[in-house]
Symmetry: C3
């Protein structure tokens, strides 16, 4: 994407947060004061409060569906006002990620390709007076995003830094299965694990599961929620590319007493060794 | 609306779902990768999970306020990955409805005028690899909506089919009243019934109600919530064109122990025979 | 902003409500039927039901980040259908505020500068038939906003009126502290008070607090949530310009048993007398 294009070609700016719609609206006002209509897109504002790891996972899934060159702003920032820096990450596909340096941007940056990161210096953002110290989303990230969306190079925003690394937890492959964990609970109470679906043999039709209250349960591997039968626990390949536990027409999180971070043990059945 | 117009005249695309904002964001990314800014409009993403009937009712009320020619995408889809087909319905006003063939689109199609329906063939959508089988919203409906919004005729997306019929439950007119049901509970706990407001005489000022815990209650018909008196159960003509039960400053769903599907019996008072 | 500009320069229209996304979608449909893409911006639709005072406070914080000339539509309207009028307030910065005359618009109008207010006459909005009496957001405010966004002068919408006054509760300055109240509880359970941060001396590092279950607690004044220590009650200058009570990583509303309207007594410590 060319730099220094006119306003009509300003980049898309997405907003992801745990702050709720009312705070997010203050960010939108700042952005729309300087960007042409339609450039600001809400992704989600009701992420679990302060859940940096889950937010990093969800952000990566959402943002990678957007076009190259998009500016993604993230406000999941329990350390706001403290020692963590506000940063921008310049990605190899020309996308820019703006948010706190607490790891929430890192998995997405790894996926898009991390070119360089910069600590945002307040003096590069103009001299609007700040109100309080607890809303960098409005006072730092939004004005930085305006500059990035209208052609300013990331390196103009401050000194280069090494961003804090964070990776979505890695599962372990075992001889007869895998050990992973729940990395996201969706609106339906489905449990999204970090175990790649392709670790499972394409021909496998059963799996052994231990997670929360489920101990050594044998489950059919299916391709739709309804195939498990109403009210039954089931397993399938999620839309995130990893294995998902669900209750058809119900909530797996409550059935199993599981949540983000819960350990998941999977056992492939005999004769179905996998890749 | 002309076919094959340039990008700047792409149609509006609306999104309605029960999947939550995070999954919806993945649909928006796919859409905004191919459509000009401002064309994608969120309607609601927190509809009751798997509530196909209520979603159909709410969708119809929302979508009919949009201009002719809009592309409405709906993801209330408990059967995703299973036997139900992904379809597009071509309407007489040139609107296109995209979603699962589970009936959720049907009441809206009836209202706008159903011209024809087509089963969406994956091969018409290009060859992006799918991830999982449980998110047709992102993997099928969004790419179909991009084509429809940029001028592709619905019949290009797949073979013609007869869509699954579903109608919002019909009330029964009785000699001295009506029998219907609750078809929607709104954010305030108001109970929206399927009994048309115009079945009630314009001069009627009282009604007899049986619904949930209310048995044979005589209620004033009013024109505002406050007119019933704070904390009082009341009845008025809703903004959906049907009769609504409410508690002024409170929640009628909790007061009556009623929900979507609850039976509602209304009795017109003597001398106020209607339509 | 010039009047009578073409559609491409239509004003931004923001939507703020307590009605939920489904009703709001009906307003968006009406607006987008007449405005170019990208002009309609959701602020928040899940404000506490019927909370006029808190909505007025949150609206002012959100709307003042938007550019001059924006049309702000507000539907926090427990009296809809009753005696309160639908109004438009013309502000000195050329912004227009549309909503019920119940005070919810007034604090924002005071901040932007109130030029004049007009009662919206239905006959100025065209003759679309109304459905019900309970959704002025869709049937009155949205069509009024379309006119205002496309160049109609506010005085064209109806006769001039004196709007109902409402002010965010004013705190009292005391010799050794202040007495105020909670005016907003945010998504994290933080308690936003009406006591201006600048009443506190810049050098003050402790404060005495009585609010809800906290009686005469001595708290450190900090600049970040983490500085208080996980699980600890703390106080800082909020992003609204007023003093905020929080629990680091927790919820202050639950800890203190406090809510909007709860009294807050603050005592400055010796030697830290303030402005």
């Amino acid at each position: 994407m060319a730099r220094r294009h006119g306003l009509t070609s300003a980049r898309l700016v997405t907003l992801t947060s745990d702050v709720g719609a009312a705070y997010a609206a203050q960010m939108k006002g700042r952005l729309l004061s300087s960007l042409p209509p339609g450039r600001v897109v809400d992704l989600v504002h009701d992420l679990p409060a302060h859940g940096v790891g889950e937010a990093a996972f969800v952000l990566r899934a959402m943002a990678t569906t957007f076009p190259a060159g998009t500016v993604h702003v993230v406000v999941v920032d329990p350390g706001v006002g403290g020692r963590r820096a506000p940063i921008v990450i310049d990605c190899l596909d020309d996308s820019r990620l703006v948010g706190p340096d607490n790891g929430v941007l890192y998995p997405l940056a790894e996926t898009l390709g991390l070119r360089a990161a910069y600590r945002i210096s307040p003096r590069t953002l103009g001299d609007r007076p700040r109100v309080g110290t607890t809303f960098d989303g409005r006072d730092v990230f939004a004005p930085a995003a305006v500059l990035l969306a209208t052609g300013t190079a990331p390196r103009r925003l401050g000194p280069r830094v090494a961003p804090r690394r964070y990776s979505v937890p890695r599962p372990e492959k075992r001889l007869d299965g895998a050990r992973g964990e729940v990395v996201h609970v969706d609106r339906f109470g489905n449990l999204i694990t970090n175990v790649p679906t392709d670790w499972l043999s394409p021909t496998a039709d059963r799996i052994g599961l231990s997670c929360g209250r489920a101990r050594g349960r044998s489950l059919r591997v299916v391709r739709s929620y309804e195939a498990a039968g109403v009210g039954r626990l089931g397993v399938l390949g999620s839309s995130f590319g990893s294995i998902e536990l669900f209750v058809s027409g119900g909530r797996a999180d409550r059935r199993l007493g599981a949540r983000v971070g819960s350990t998941v043990r999977l056992r492939w059945y005999d004769g179905r060794r996998t890749g």
